[in-house]
């Protein structure tokens, strides 16, 4: 809150957004620092991929929905992290609560791993259908593990008679810990590694004791195969944390000063709302499940109007319903943060799968013309910094900022270093209004000082009808032109001053430039690291709209541009062509509902890029 005097509400300089008076001085430089920290965090992520120890293990657990695969993934991921390994846990699941056939893939390694390979070292099959689905990823050296009661005729499978073993320790609900115990033995680790992880997962003493007992049964049963698929533990890196993309977005929102979230549940966006609900009390955040997405975004806009810092979290169909609210946001020049979690469409599509096919609705939805920004994080670190930055960006530009993630990024578990938090707590650039306050008074870059009702003595009037500088309805043609121009002139801030830069992986002098956005980052980076093709680099675009000069410059320097994206029609390629005039020579698409694997990108590079 600021106790602004009348002169505090005026803007001094058109170019630097540094406002006069106590109230405004905190602001702009802090943004720059935040950006530097953001890009530093991103480059550190990449640097980790170069560690030289290449030992790693990929393990898959497959079963029906309701068998607790997520729990197994969490237990094992934590055990690997505590054992000094880097770990990635990717879930693929069907849209159902029980049955079906789902799987989690864990990749653990001594170097940082941020993407998936196809090949499986260890495959635990808890249901019969799984084998058929996973056979393509299994090779002669893959160890298959299954209950002989289910896989009667399967040759060469390591038998793990779960039903029989769990009968004496409380039944099938302890299968998960039993499986974890068996796996722990197969990779040659002591039971204590697993017990520490279980302690973290099960807080109830009785439940913990029973799960530890089950883990021991599994571990002891594996005695004959101890270390068959070994990867040695090492010293744990102190302070490492285990988070998925949804948690990173939620924590980024808190770091960005979010005080209000209203949303309607929809996979895969719901977890962000769920995490913030758990933090509502501790961090003083209003969390409300709206009756629909239309209500959610209108609540968000109401909150910003009254001094809140609001966000909504949604997915494609829900975002469609928000389109009118997004347009209102443009009309009343409200800040707004929208988390748009992509899943394959059209219609209901594949609710639990991944895709990058909502870029164009993020860019074009909402009637009329008004500025917006779209940020597409490619890692949990970027999800954190993008979400935090989105609040600053929205507040300073008085425009909507969309964080475009996808199911793959959100549901994947990663080990990471703790986030670097901002030095100062962010707050809104609001002023105490004076008697003559006009909400839409002209200002540099189209920004009018933003007042809120109840702070100061002026009237704060916003209207979705075309309005004059006081917010009153008008049909004056000259005022119309000046208001359209005012709104559109805010785009410069988003394109330049507040823009998040892209990341270049590979040599600074390149002939071929592979361009991606969002969650493809780690896969492409690892594939390039593996093959080291000649004069080829990868540009990971984090802010995908407005397209910054930095992206445009890189594109203009390339002889050949290849755009990779998780959709069927090349939405980003189209946007780049339109915005930069550069020709895209090839496009790599995937749209079966799964993310690219490293092997797939390696194969594409082999076929289409000179090595």
């Amino acid at each position: 809150m600021q106790d602004g005097t009348p002169e505090n509400s005026t803007v001094k300089d058109a170019n630097d957004l540094e406002y006069v008076g106590k109230a405004w001085q905190v602001t702009y430089k802090d943004v720059k620092h935040a950006e530097q920290r953001a890009s530093q965090a991103i480059s550190e992520t990449i640097a980790l991929i170069h560690a030289d120890d290449t030992r790693e293990i990929t393990l898959v657990i497959s079963g029906e929905a309701g068998q607790g695969l997520q729990t197994i993934a969490h237990i094992l991921a934590r055990m690997f992290m505590n054992g000094g390994l880097h770990v990635l846990a990717v879930s693929e699941f069907m849209s159902r609560i029980r049955g079906g056939s789902n799987s989690v893939t864990l990749r653990a390694a001594h170097r940082s791993v941020r993407a998936l390979n196809e090949h499986i070292d260890l495959c635990v099959l808890l249901d019969k259908k799984a084998l058929q689905r996973l056979r393509g990823r299994c090779a002669a050296d893959t160890i298959l593990i299954g209950d002989p009661a289910i896989f009667v005729d399967e040759m060469g499978m390591f038998p793990l008679p779960l039903k029989e073993l769990s009968a004496n320790i409380g039944g099938a609900m302890y299968n998960n810990s039993l499986v974890c115990g068996y796996i722990t033995r197969l990779i040659g680790w002591e039971l204590s590694h697993l017990e520490i992880a279980l302690t973290r997962i099960f807080t109830d003493c009785d439940l913990l004791a029973k799960n530890c007992a089950a883990a021991r049964v599994g571990w002891e049963y594996g005695v004959d195969n101890s270390g068959r698929c070994s990867i040695p533990p090492c010293e744990a890196k102190p302070g490492s944390i285990l988070l998925d993309g949804s948690q990173a977005v939620a924590l980024g929102a808190v770091a960005g000063g979010c005080t209000f979230i209203s949303s309607y549940p929809m996979s895969p966006s719901t977890e962000v709302l769920t995490h913030l609900a758990k933090l509502a009390h501790a961090h003083g955040i209003i969390v409300e499940q709206a009756e629909d997405e239309i209500s959610a975004i209108n609540m968000g806009l109401g909150s910003w109007y009254a001094g809140g810092r609001a966000m909504v979290s949604t997915s494609g169909g829900g975002f469609d319903l928000m389109a009118e609210g997004l347009s209102l946001c443009g009309a009343i020049e409200s800040p707004m943060v929208i988390h748009l979690a992509q899943r394959p469409g059209p219609g209901t599509g594949l609710p639990t799968r991944t895709e990058q096919a909502d870029l164009e609705i993020a860019r074009y939805s909402g009637h009329g013309e008004f500025p917006r920004a779209i940020l597409a994080p490619g890692s949990p670190e970027e999800a954190f910094t993008c979400t935090a930055h989105a609040f600053t960006m929205a507040d300073l530009s008085q425009s909507p900022v969309i964080i475009l993630t996808d199911q793959y990024l959100l549901d994947t578990l990663y080990d990471l270093d703790p986030f670097e938090l901002p030095d100062t707590a962010p707050g809104s650039r609001i002023i105490a209004t004076t008697e003559d306050y006009r909400r839409y008074a002209p200002g540099p870059d189209g920004i009018s000082p933003r007042g809120i009702p109840g702070l100061g003595v002026g009237r704060v009037c916003v209207d979705s009808d075309e309005h004059d500088d006081e917010g009153c309805i008008t049909e004056d043609f000259d005022v119309r032109i000046s208001m359209v121009d005012k709104r559109l002139s805010k785009l410069r801030l988003l394109r330049e001053d507040l823009a998040l830069p892209p990341r270049l992986y590979g040599p600074a002098y390149f002939k071929i430039l592979i361009v991606g956005w969002g969650s493809t980052a780690a896969v492409v980076a690892e594939a390039l690291e593996q093959l080291q093709p000649v004069a080829t680099s990868f540009l990971h675009c984090i802010q995908i709209y407005p397209v910054s000069k930095a992206i445009s410059d890189h594109l203009h320097r390339a002889k050949q541009i290849i755009v990779i994206e998780n959709n069927a029609t090349g939405q980003f390629a189209r946007l780049l062509k339109a915005e930069t005039g550069c020709a895209v020579s090839r496009e790599w698409h995937k749209y079966n509902g799964l993310a690219f694997s490293v092997d797939e990108v390696v194969e594409l590079l082999r076929q289409e890029v000179e090595l």
Binding site: L243, C461, I473
Partner: protein
């Protein structure tokens, strides 16, 4: 106009001569004057339509948003700063048609706001089509053979949802309407005031005279704490009853939010506690 008027001067008012909206605007202004509400702490939220233009003519903060969406915005404004007095004001098409889902769930939420609905039983701004409250048989440019849908009964719906304050008024009875509005604004919780008004241009059936003949006050001994009695009166169509049907004190939405459990400040006065956030990251990770 008296000295402490809440009316904005010099407006080009967009209503037809004789429109019931003028009467409602006058009554709202007089009510606010009598209550001496602090105009700097009062926000009027509206949607789109002729009634939704009301805030334009008041000297108060306003949020004139989307058609049908006044209640979500109003709910959030009140929740974001509990010191504000919030009035959500729009027409019958806006609140009961386009905003029908928000209407029902806003009642369930029970934020402390006053919901004034200008109910003229027809669409004005889009030129005379049926509204959710149009009577059976009303012939319009679009319902050329007359309305065949059952009219929406906002009073009965609100009571069924256990709204905390439910009233119907008629613009022609200024004294009673002012008294109802005052009680509604004073009431802590969601308060519905459905104000009957004629549309002199498009509704030739429900005229000033029709309302005089087809409305009557609730009986003097009506017990507005008795939900069943209130519902029975709400179901009476002819004459339509006027007055406070139902009042039910219960906890308001914003007071129950975790964000206010140990911090009563409005959201704009808050900053994230970075030490606490560091701890949250550690615990979550």
């Amino acid at each position: 106009m008296s000295e402490n008027s809440y009316l904005r001067t010099g407006c080009d008012v967009a209503w037809c001569p004789g429109c019931g909206n003028f009467g409602i605007l006058k009554i709202v202004n007089e009510t606010l004057q009598e209550m001496e509400l602090d105009p700097r702490q009062t926000v009027v939220v509206s949607g789109i339509g002729q009634a939704a233009k009301t805030p334009q003519y008041l000297n108060l903060h306003f949020f004139n948003g989307l058609h049908g969406r006044a209640l979500p915005a109003a709910t959030a404004i009140k929740a974001t700063n509990r010191n504000l007095t919030v009035i959500a004001e729009s027409g019958d098409g806006d609140m009961y048609g386009e905003g029908g889902n928000h209407f029902t769930h806003c009642i369930r939420r029970n934020p402390d706001l006053t919901n004034i609905v200008h109910n003229n039983m027809v669409y004005g701004l889009t030129k005379g089509q049926a509204s959710p409250t149009s009577p059976h048989g009303l012939v319009t440019p679009l319902q050329v053979d007359g309305v065949i849908l059952e009219p929406f009964n906002p009073i009965a719906v609100a009571i069924a949802l256990d709204a905390s304050f439910v009233a119907r008024a008629y613009v022609g009875h200024a004294d009673q309407t002012r008294a109802i509005l005052k009680a509604a604004i004073r009431h802590r919780g969601y308060a519905l005031v459905d104000i009957l008004q004629p549309c002199v241009t498009f509704n030739k059936l429900n005229t000033y005279r029709w309302f005089e003949e087809h409305t009557t006050p609730l009986a003097a001994d009506h017990d507005h704490t008795d939900k069943i009695q209130a519902f029975a009166r709400a179901c009476e169509n002819d004459p339509l009853r006027l007055g406070i049907f139902y009042q039910n004190e219960k906890p308001v939405f914003e007071d129950q939010l975790a964000a206010y459990l140990d911090d009563s400040r409005p959201l704009f006065e808050r900053r994230v506690d970075l030490n606490k956030l560091a701890e949250t990251v550690r615990v979550m990770g």
